[in-house]
Assembly symmetry: C2
Homo-oligomer: 311 residues x 2
């Protein structure tokens, strides 16, 4: 198994949906990613929190085997996000973002982190993402995510970064804007020409589309009827995806990449069942494997043997 370094936010989120709300609960891309990837690989976080970051969160994450030696504590407050979801669960409304100590985040990797084989650059300033990559010794697998804000404000930096990553995770809407293409399929094709061998377009409740080796593999989302809080679903998906690849240590095998898609979906489906990281915290590997197998069976189609007369 290869170890994974993840660089991203560690946050306190206040989220309201039609099914309830959470106040200053644990969140952030690096947290969701780690809680998903830990089922498969050793994960090490690069991030920053303020003095107010609750000790119990640190303890919980450490207890799950997540390495926090790279999680700096600085004077000031932890990054906070306040958001709301209406009936359309793919549409997060940001009510407030308080960067706090995250505003001056300059990721600095430990010696062990520099030597990691796998790195996930969660959605932060692409200049910082590049800076992290510069610090890595010789990673076997580099993946990143991004968001609208960077697509619009730093398109050139982002394009250069994409030339250096193997796997690019991106939301459908953002993929369309970045590529100036009308469909997810066309967006994935255009973006794959910029560097990433694997482009994963995340489509929320509609699943995700993976483009690799000139071929497209669309997968639906695992069906969850009672979604309580979609926050972190994308990072959880990436965590399952990358964790699985790190465990099998195979980075361009299509069958493994398909498994990674399914583990990513399975993890994301657990995550949205409850607020914050609650469901991910108490998720055990057997339940995850069971959902993986159930989803694989759901998608498996037996070749229909029609009566010969119809052929």
């Amino acid at each position: 198994m290869d170890s994974i370094v993840v660089v991203g936010s560690v946050a306190l989120d206040s989220v309201k949906t039609l099914w309830g709300e959470s106040q200053e609960a644990l969140g952030g891309s690096a947290v969701y990613f780690s809680l998903a990837a830990r089922h498969f690989a050793r994960v090490s976080v690069v991030g920053v929190v303020g003095r107010d970051f609750p000790k119990e969160h640190r303890h919980m994450l450490a207890e799950k085997g997540i390495d926090l030696t790279g999680l700096k504590e600085l004077p000031g407050k932890t990054f906070r996000w306040v958001g709301r979801f209406g009936r359309d669960l793919s549409d997060a409304k940001t009510l407030a973002t308080h960067l706090n100590v995250f505003a001056n985040f300059r990721p600095k990797l430990t010696a062990a982190q520099r030597a990691a084989r796998v790195v996930f650059l969660a959605n932060i300033d692409p200049d910082l993402q590049s800076g992290v990559l510069d610090q890595m010794r010789r990673p076997a697998l580099v993946a990143c995510d991004t968001m609208n804000y960077w697509i619009t404000s730093k398109p050139d930096v982002l394009r250069r970064l994409l030339g250096r990553v193997h796997i690019f995770f991106v939301n459908e809407e953002e993929a369309k804007i970045l590529s100036r293409q009308p469909t997810a399929l066309q967006a994935a094709r255009v973006i794959s020409h910029w560097g990433p061998k694997v482009v994963v377009v995340k489509q929320g409740e509609h699943g995700a589309l993976m483009r690799v080796g000139g071929r497209c593999f669309p997968f639906p989302a695992y069906p969850v009827e009672s979604v309580k809080d979609p926050t972190g679903a994308g990072d959880t998906f990436a965590g399952g995806f990358m964790g699985y690849l790190a465990a099998v240590q195979a980075y361009d095998n299509i069958e493994h990449l398909k498994c990674a898609m399914i583990y990513g979906s399975a993890l994301a489906s657990f995550n949205v069942e409850d607020f914050s990281t609650r469901r991910l915290e108490n998720l055990k590997r057997p339940a995850l494997d069971e959902r993986f197998r159930e989803f694989v069976a759901c998608l498996q189609v037996q070749d229909g043997s029609l009566p010969a007369l119809m052929r």
Copy 2:
């Protein structure tokens, strides 16, 4: 193999998309459905055209083995639809609808049609759909589609009809309106309580979701990069779906229903590759079967055998 009766529109469509346009080209729900279902079963159309309906369309359809004895010709003009698609191919803008002879359509089945085992009630007035059902002797499989217009104007008639059908095909947006539910999954659950054993929620480029026996089976759309004209994709999907079931004569076997989903998607994917019915007209069974198998393989995931230490 069971034979299928389809009741629906036979039209002349004028469609403009970003990739070209067609003028007064062959269209209509009954036509798309028949051209898809003919690969698997004998299809018989109940419909109406005007005196201006081009003879070559009749010849083409008859040549494909589609029974047109129930396609009446009346004085007046054929039903016409004028539409446009922008970059968002799931969003058809209707510029004009000229019902013409279709305005007084009162479907009357021939003796052979009454005895058919399978019937598809395409999107027409639910009162007419019920009237067709009343004429059927003892169908083994009844399926229907509908649209916003009827959901709003005749909700009670539609609800009663749903109590009489086995399979209900419906667009995602329409399913949400009909059921007053926020997601496709919840909509499918609510609607399935109204009667249909199988609810298929069509999600355009995102695929389709089937609910049967209390379980949900989401499938993506077969990836087509260069969609030229999405007109008729839903009816083509239903044609492949129903045709396959009529061929295997199995109506509540989940494995067959999954195959039906994939054949429906495969047929719809061919249909959108060209304007009007062009691609469907010249589609041969081997090419269809090849795409079916390719799609099945694409969705097949081999259970990832992770190193034991990770378990």
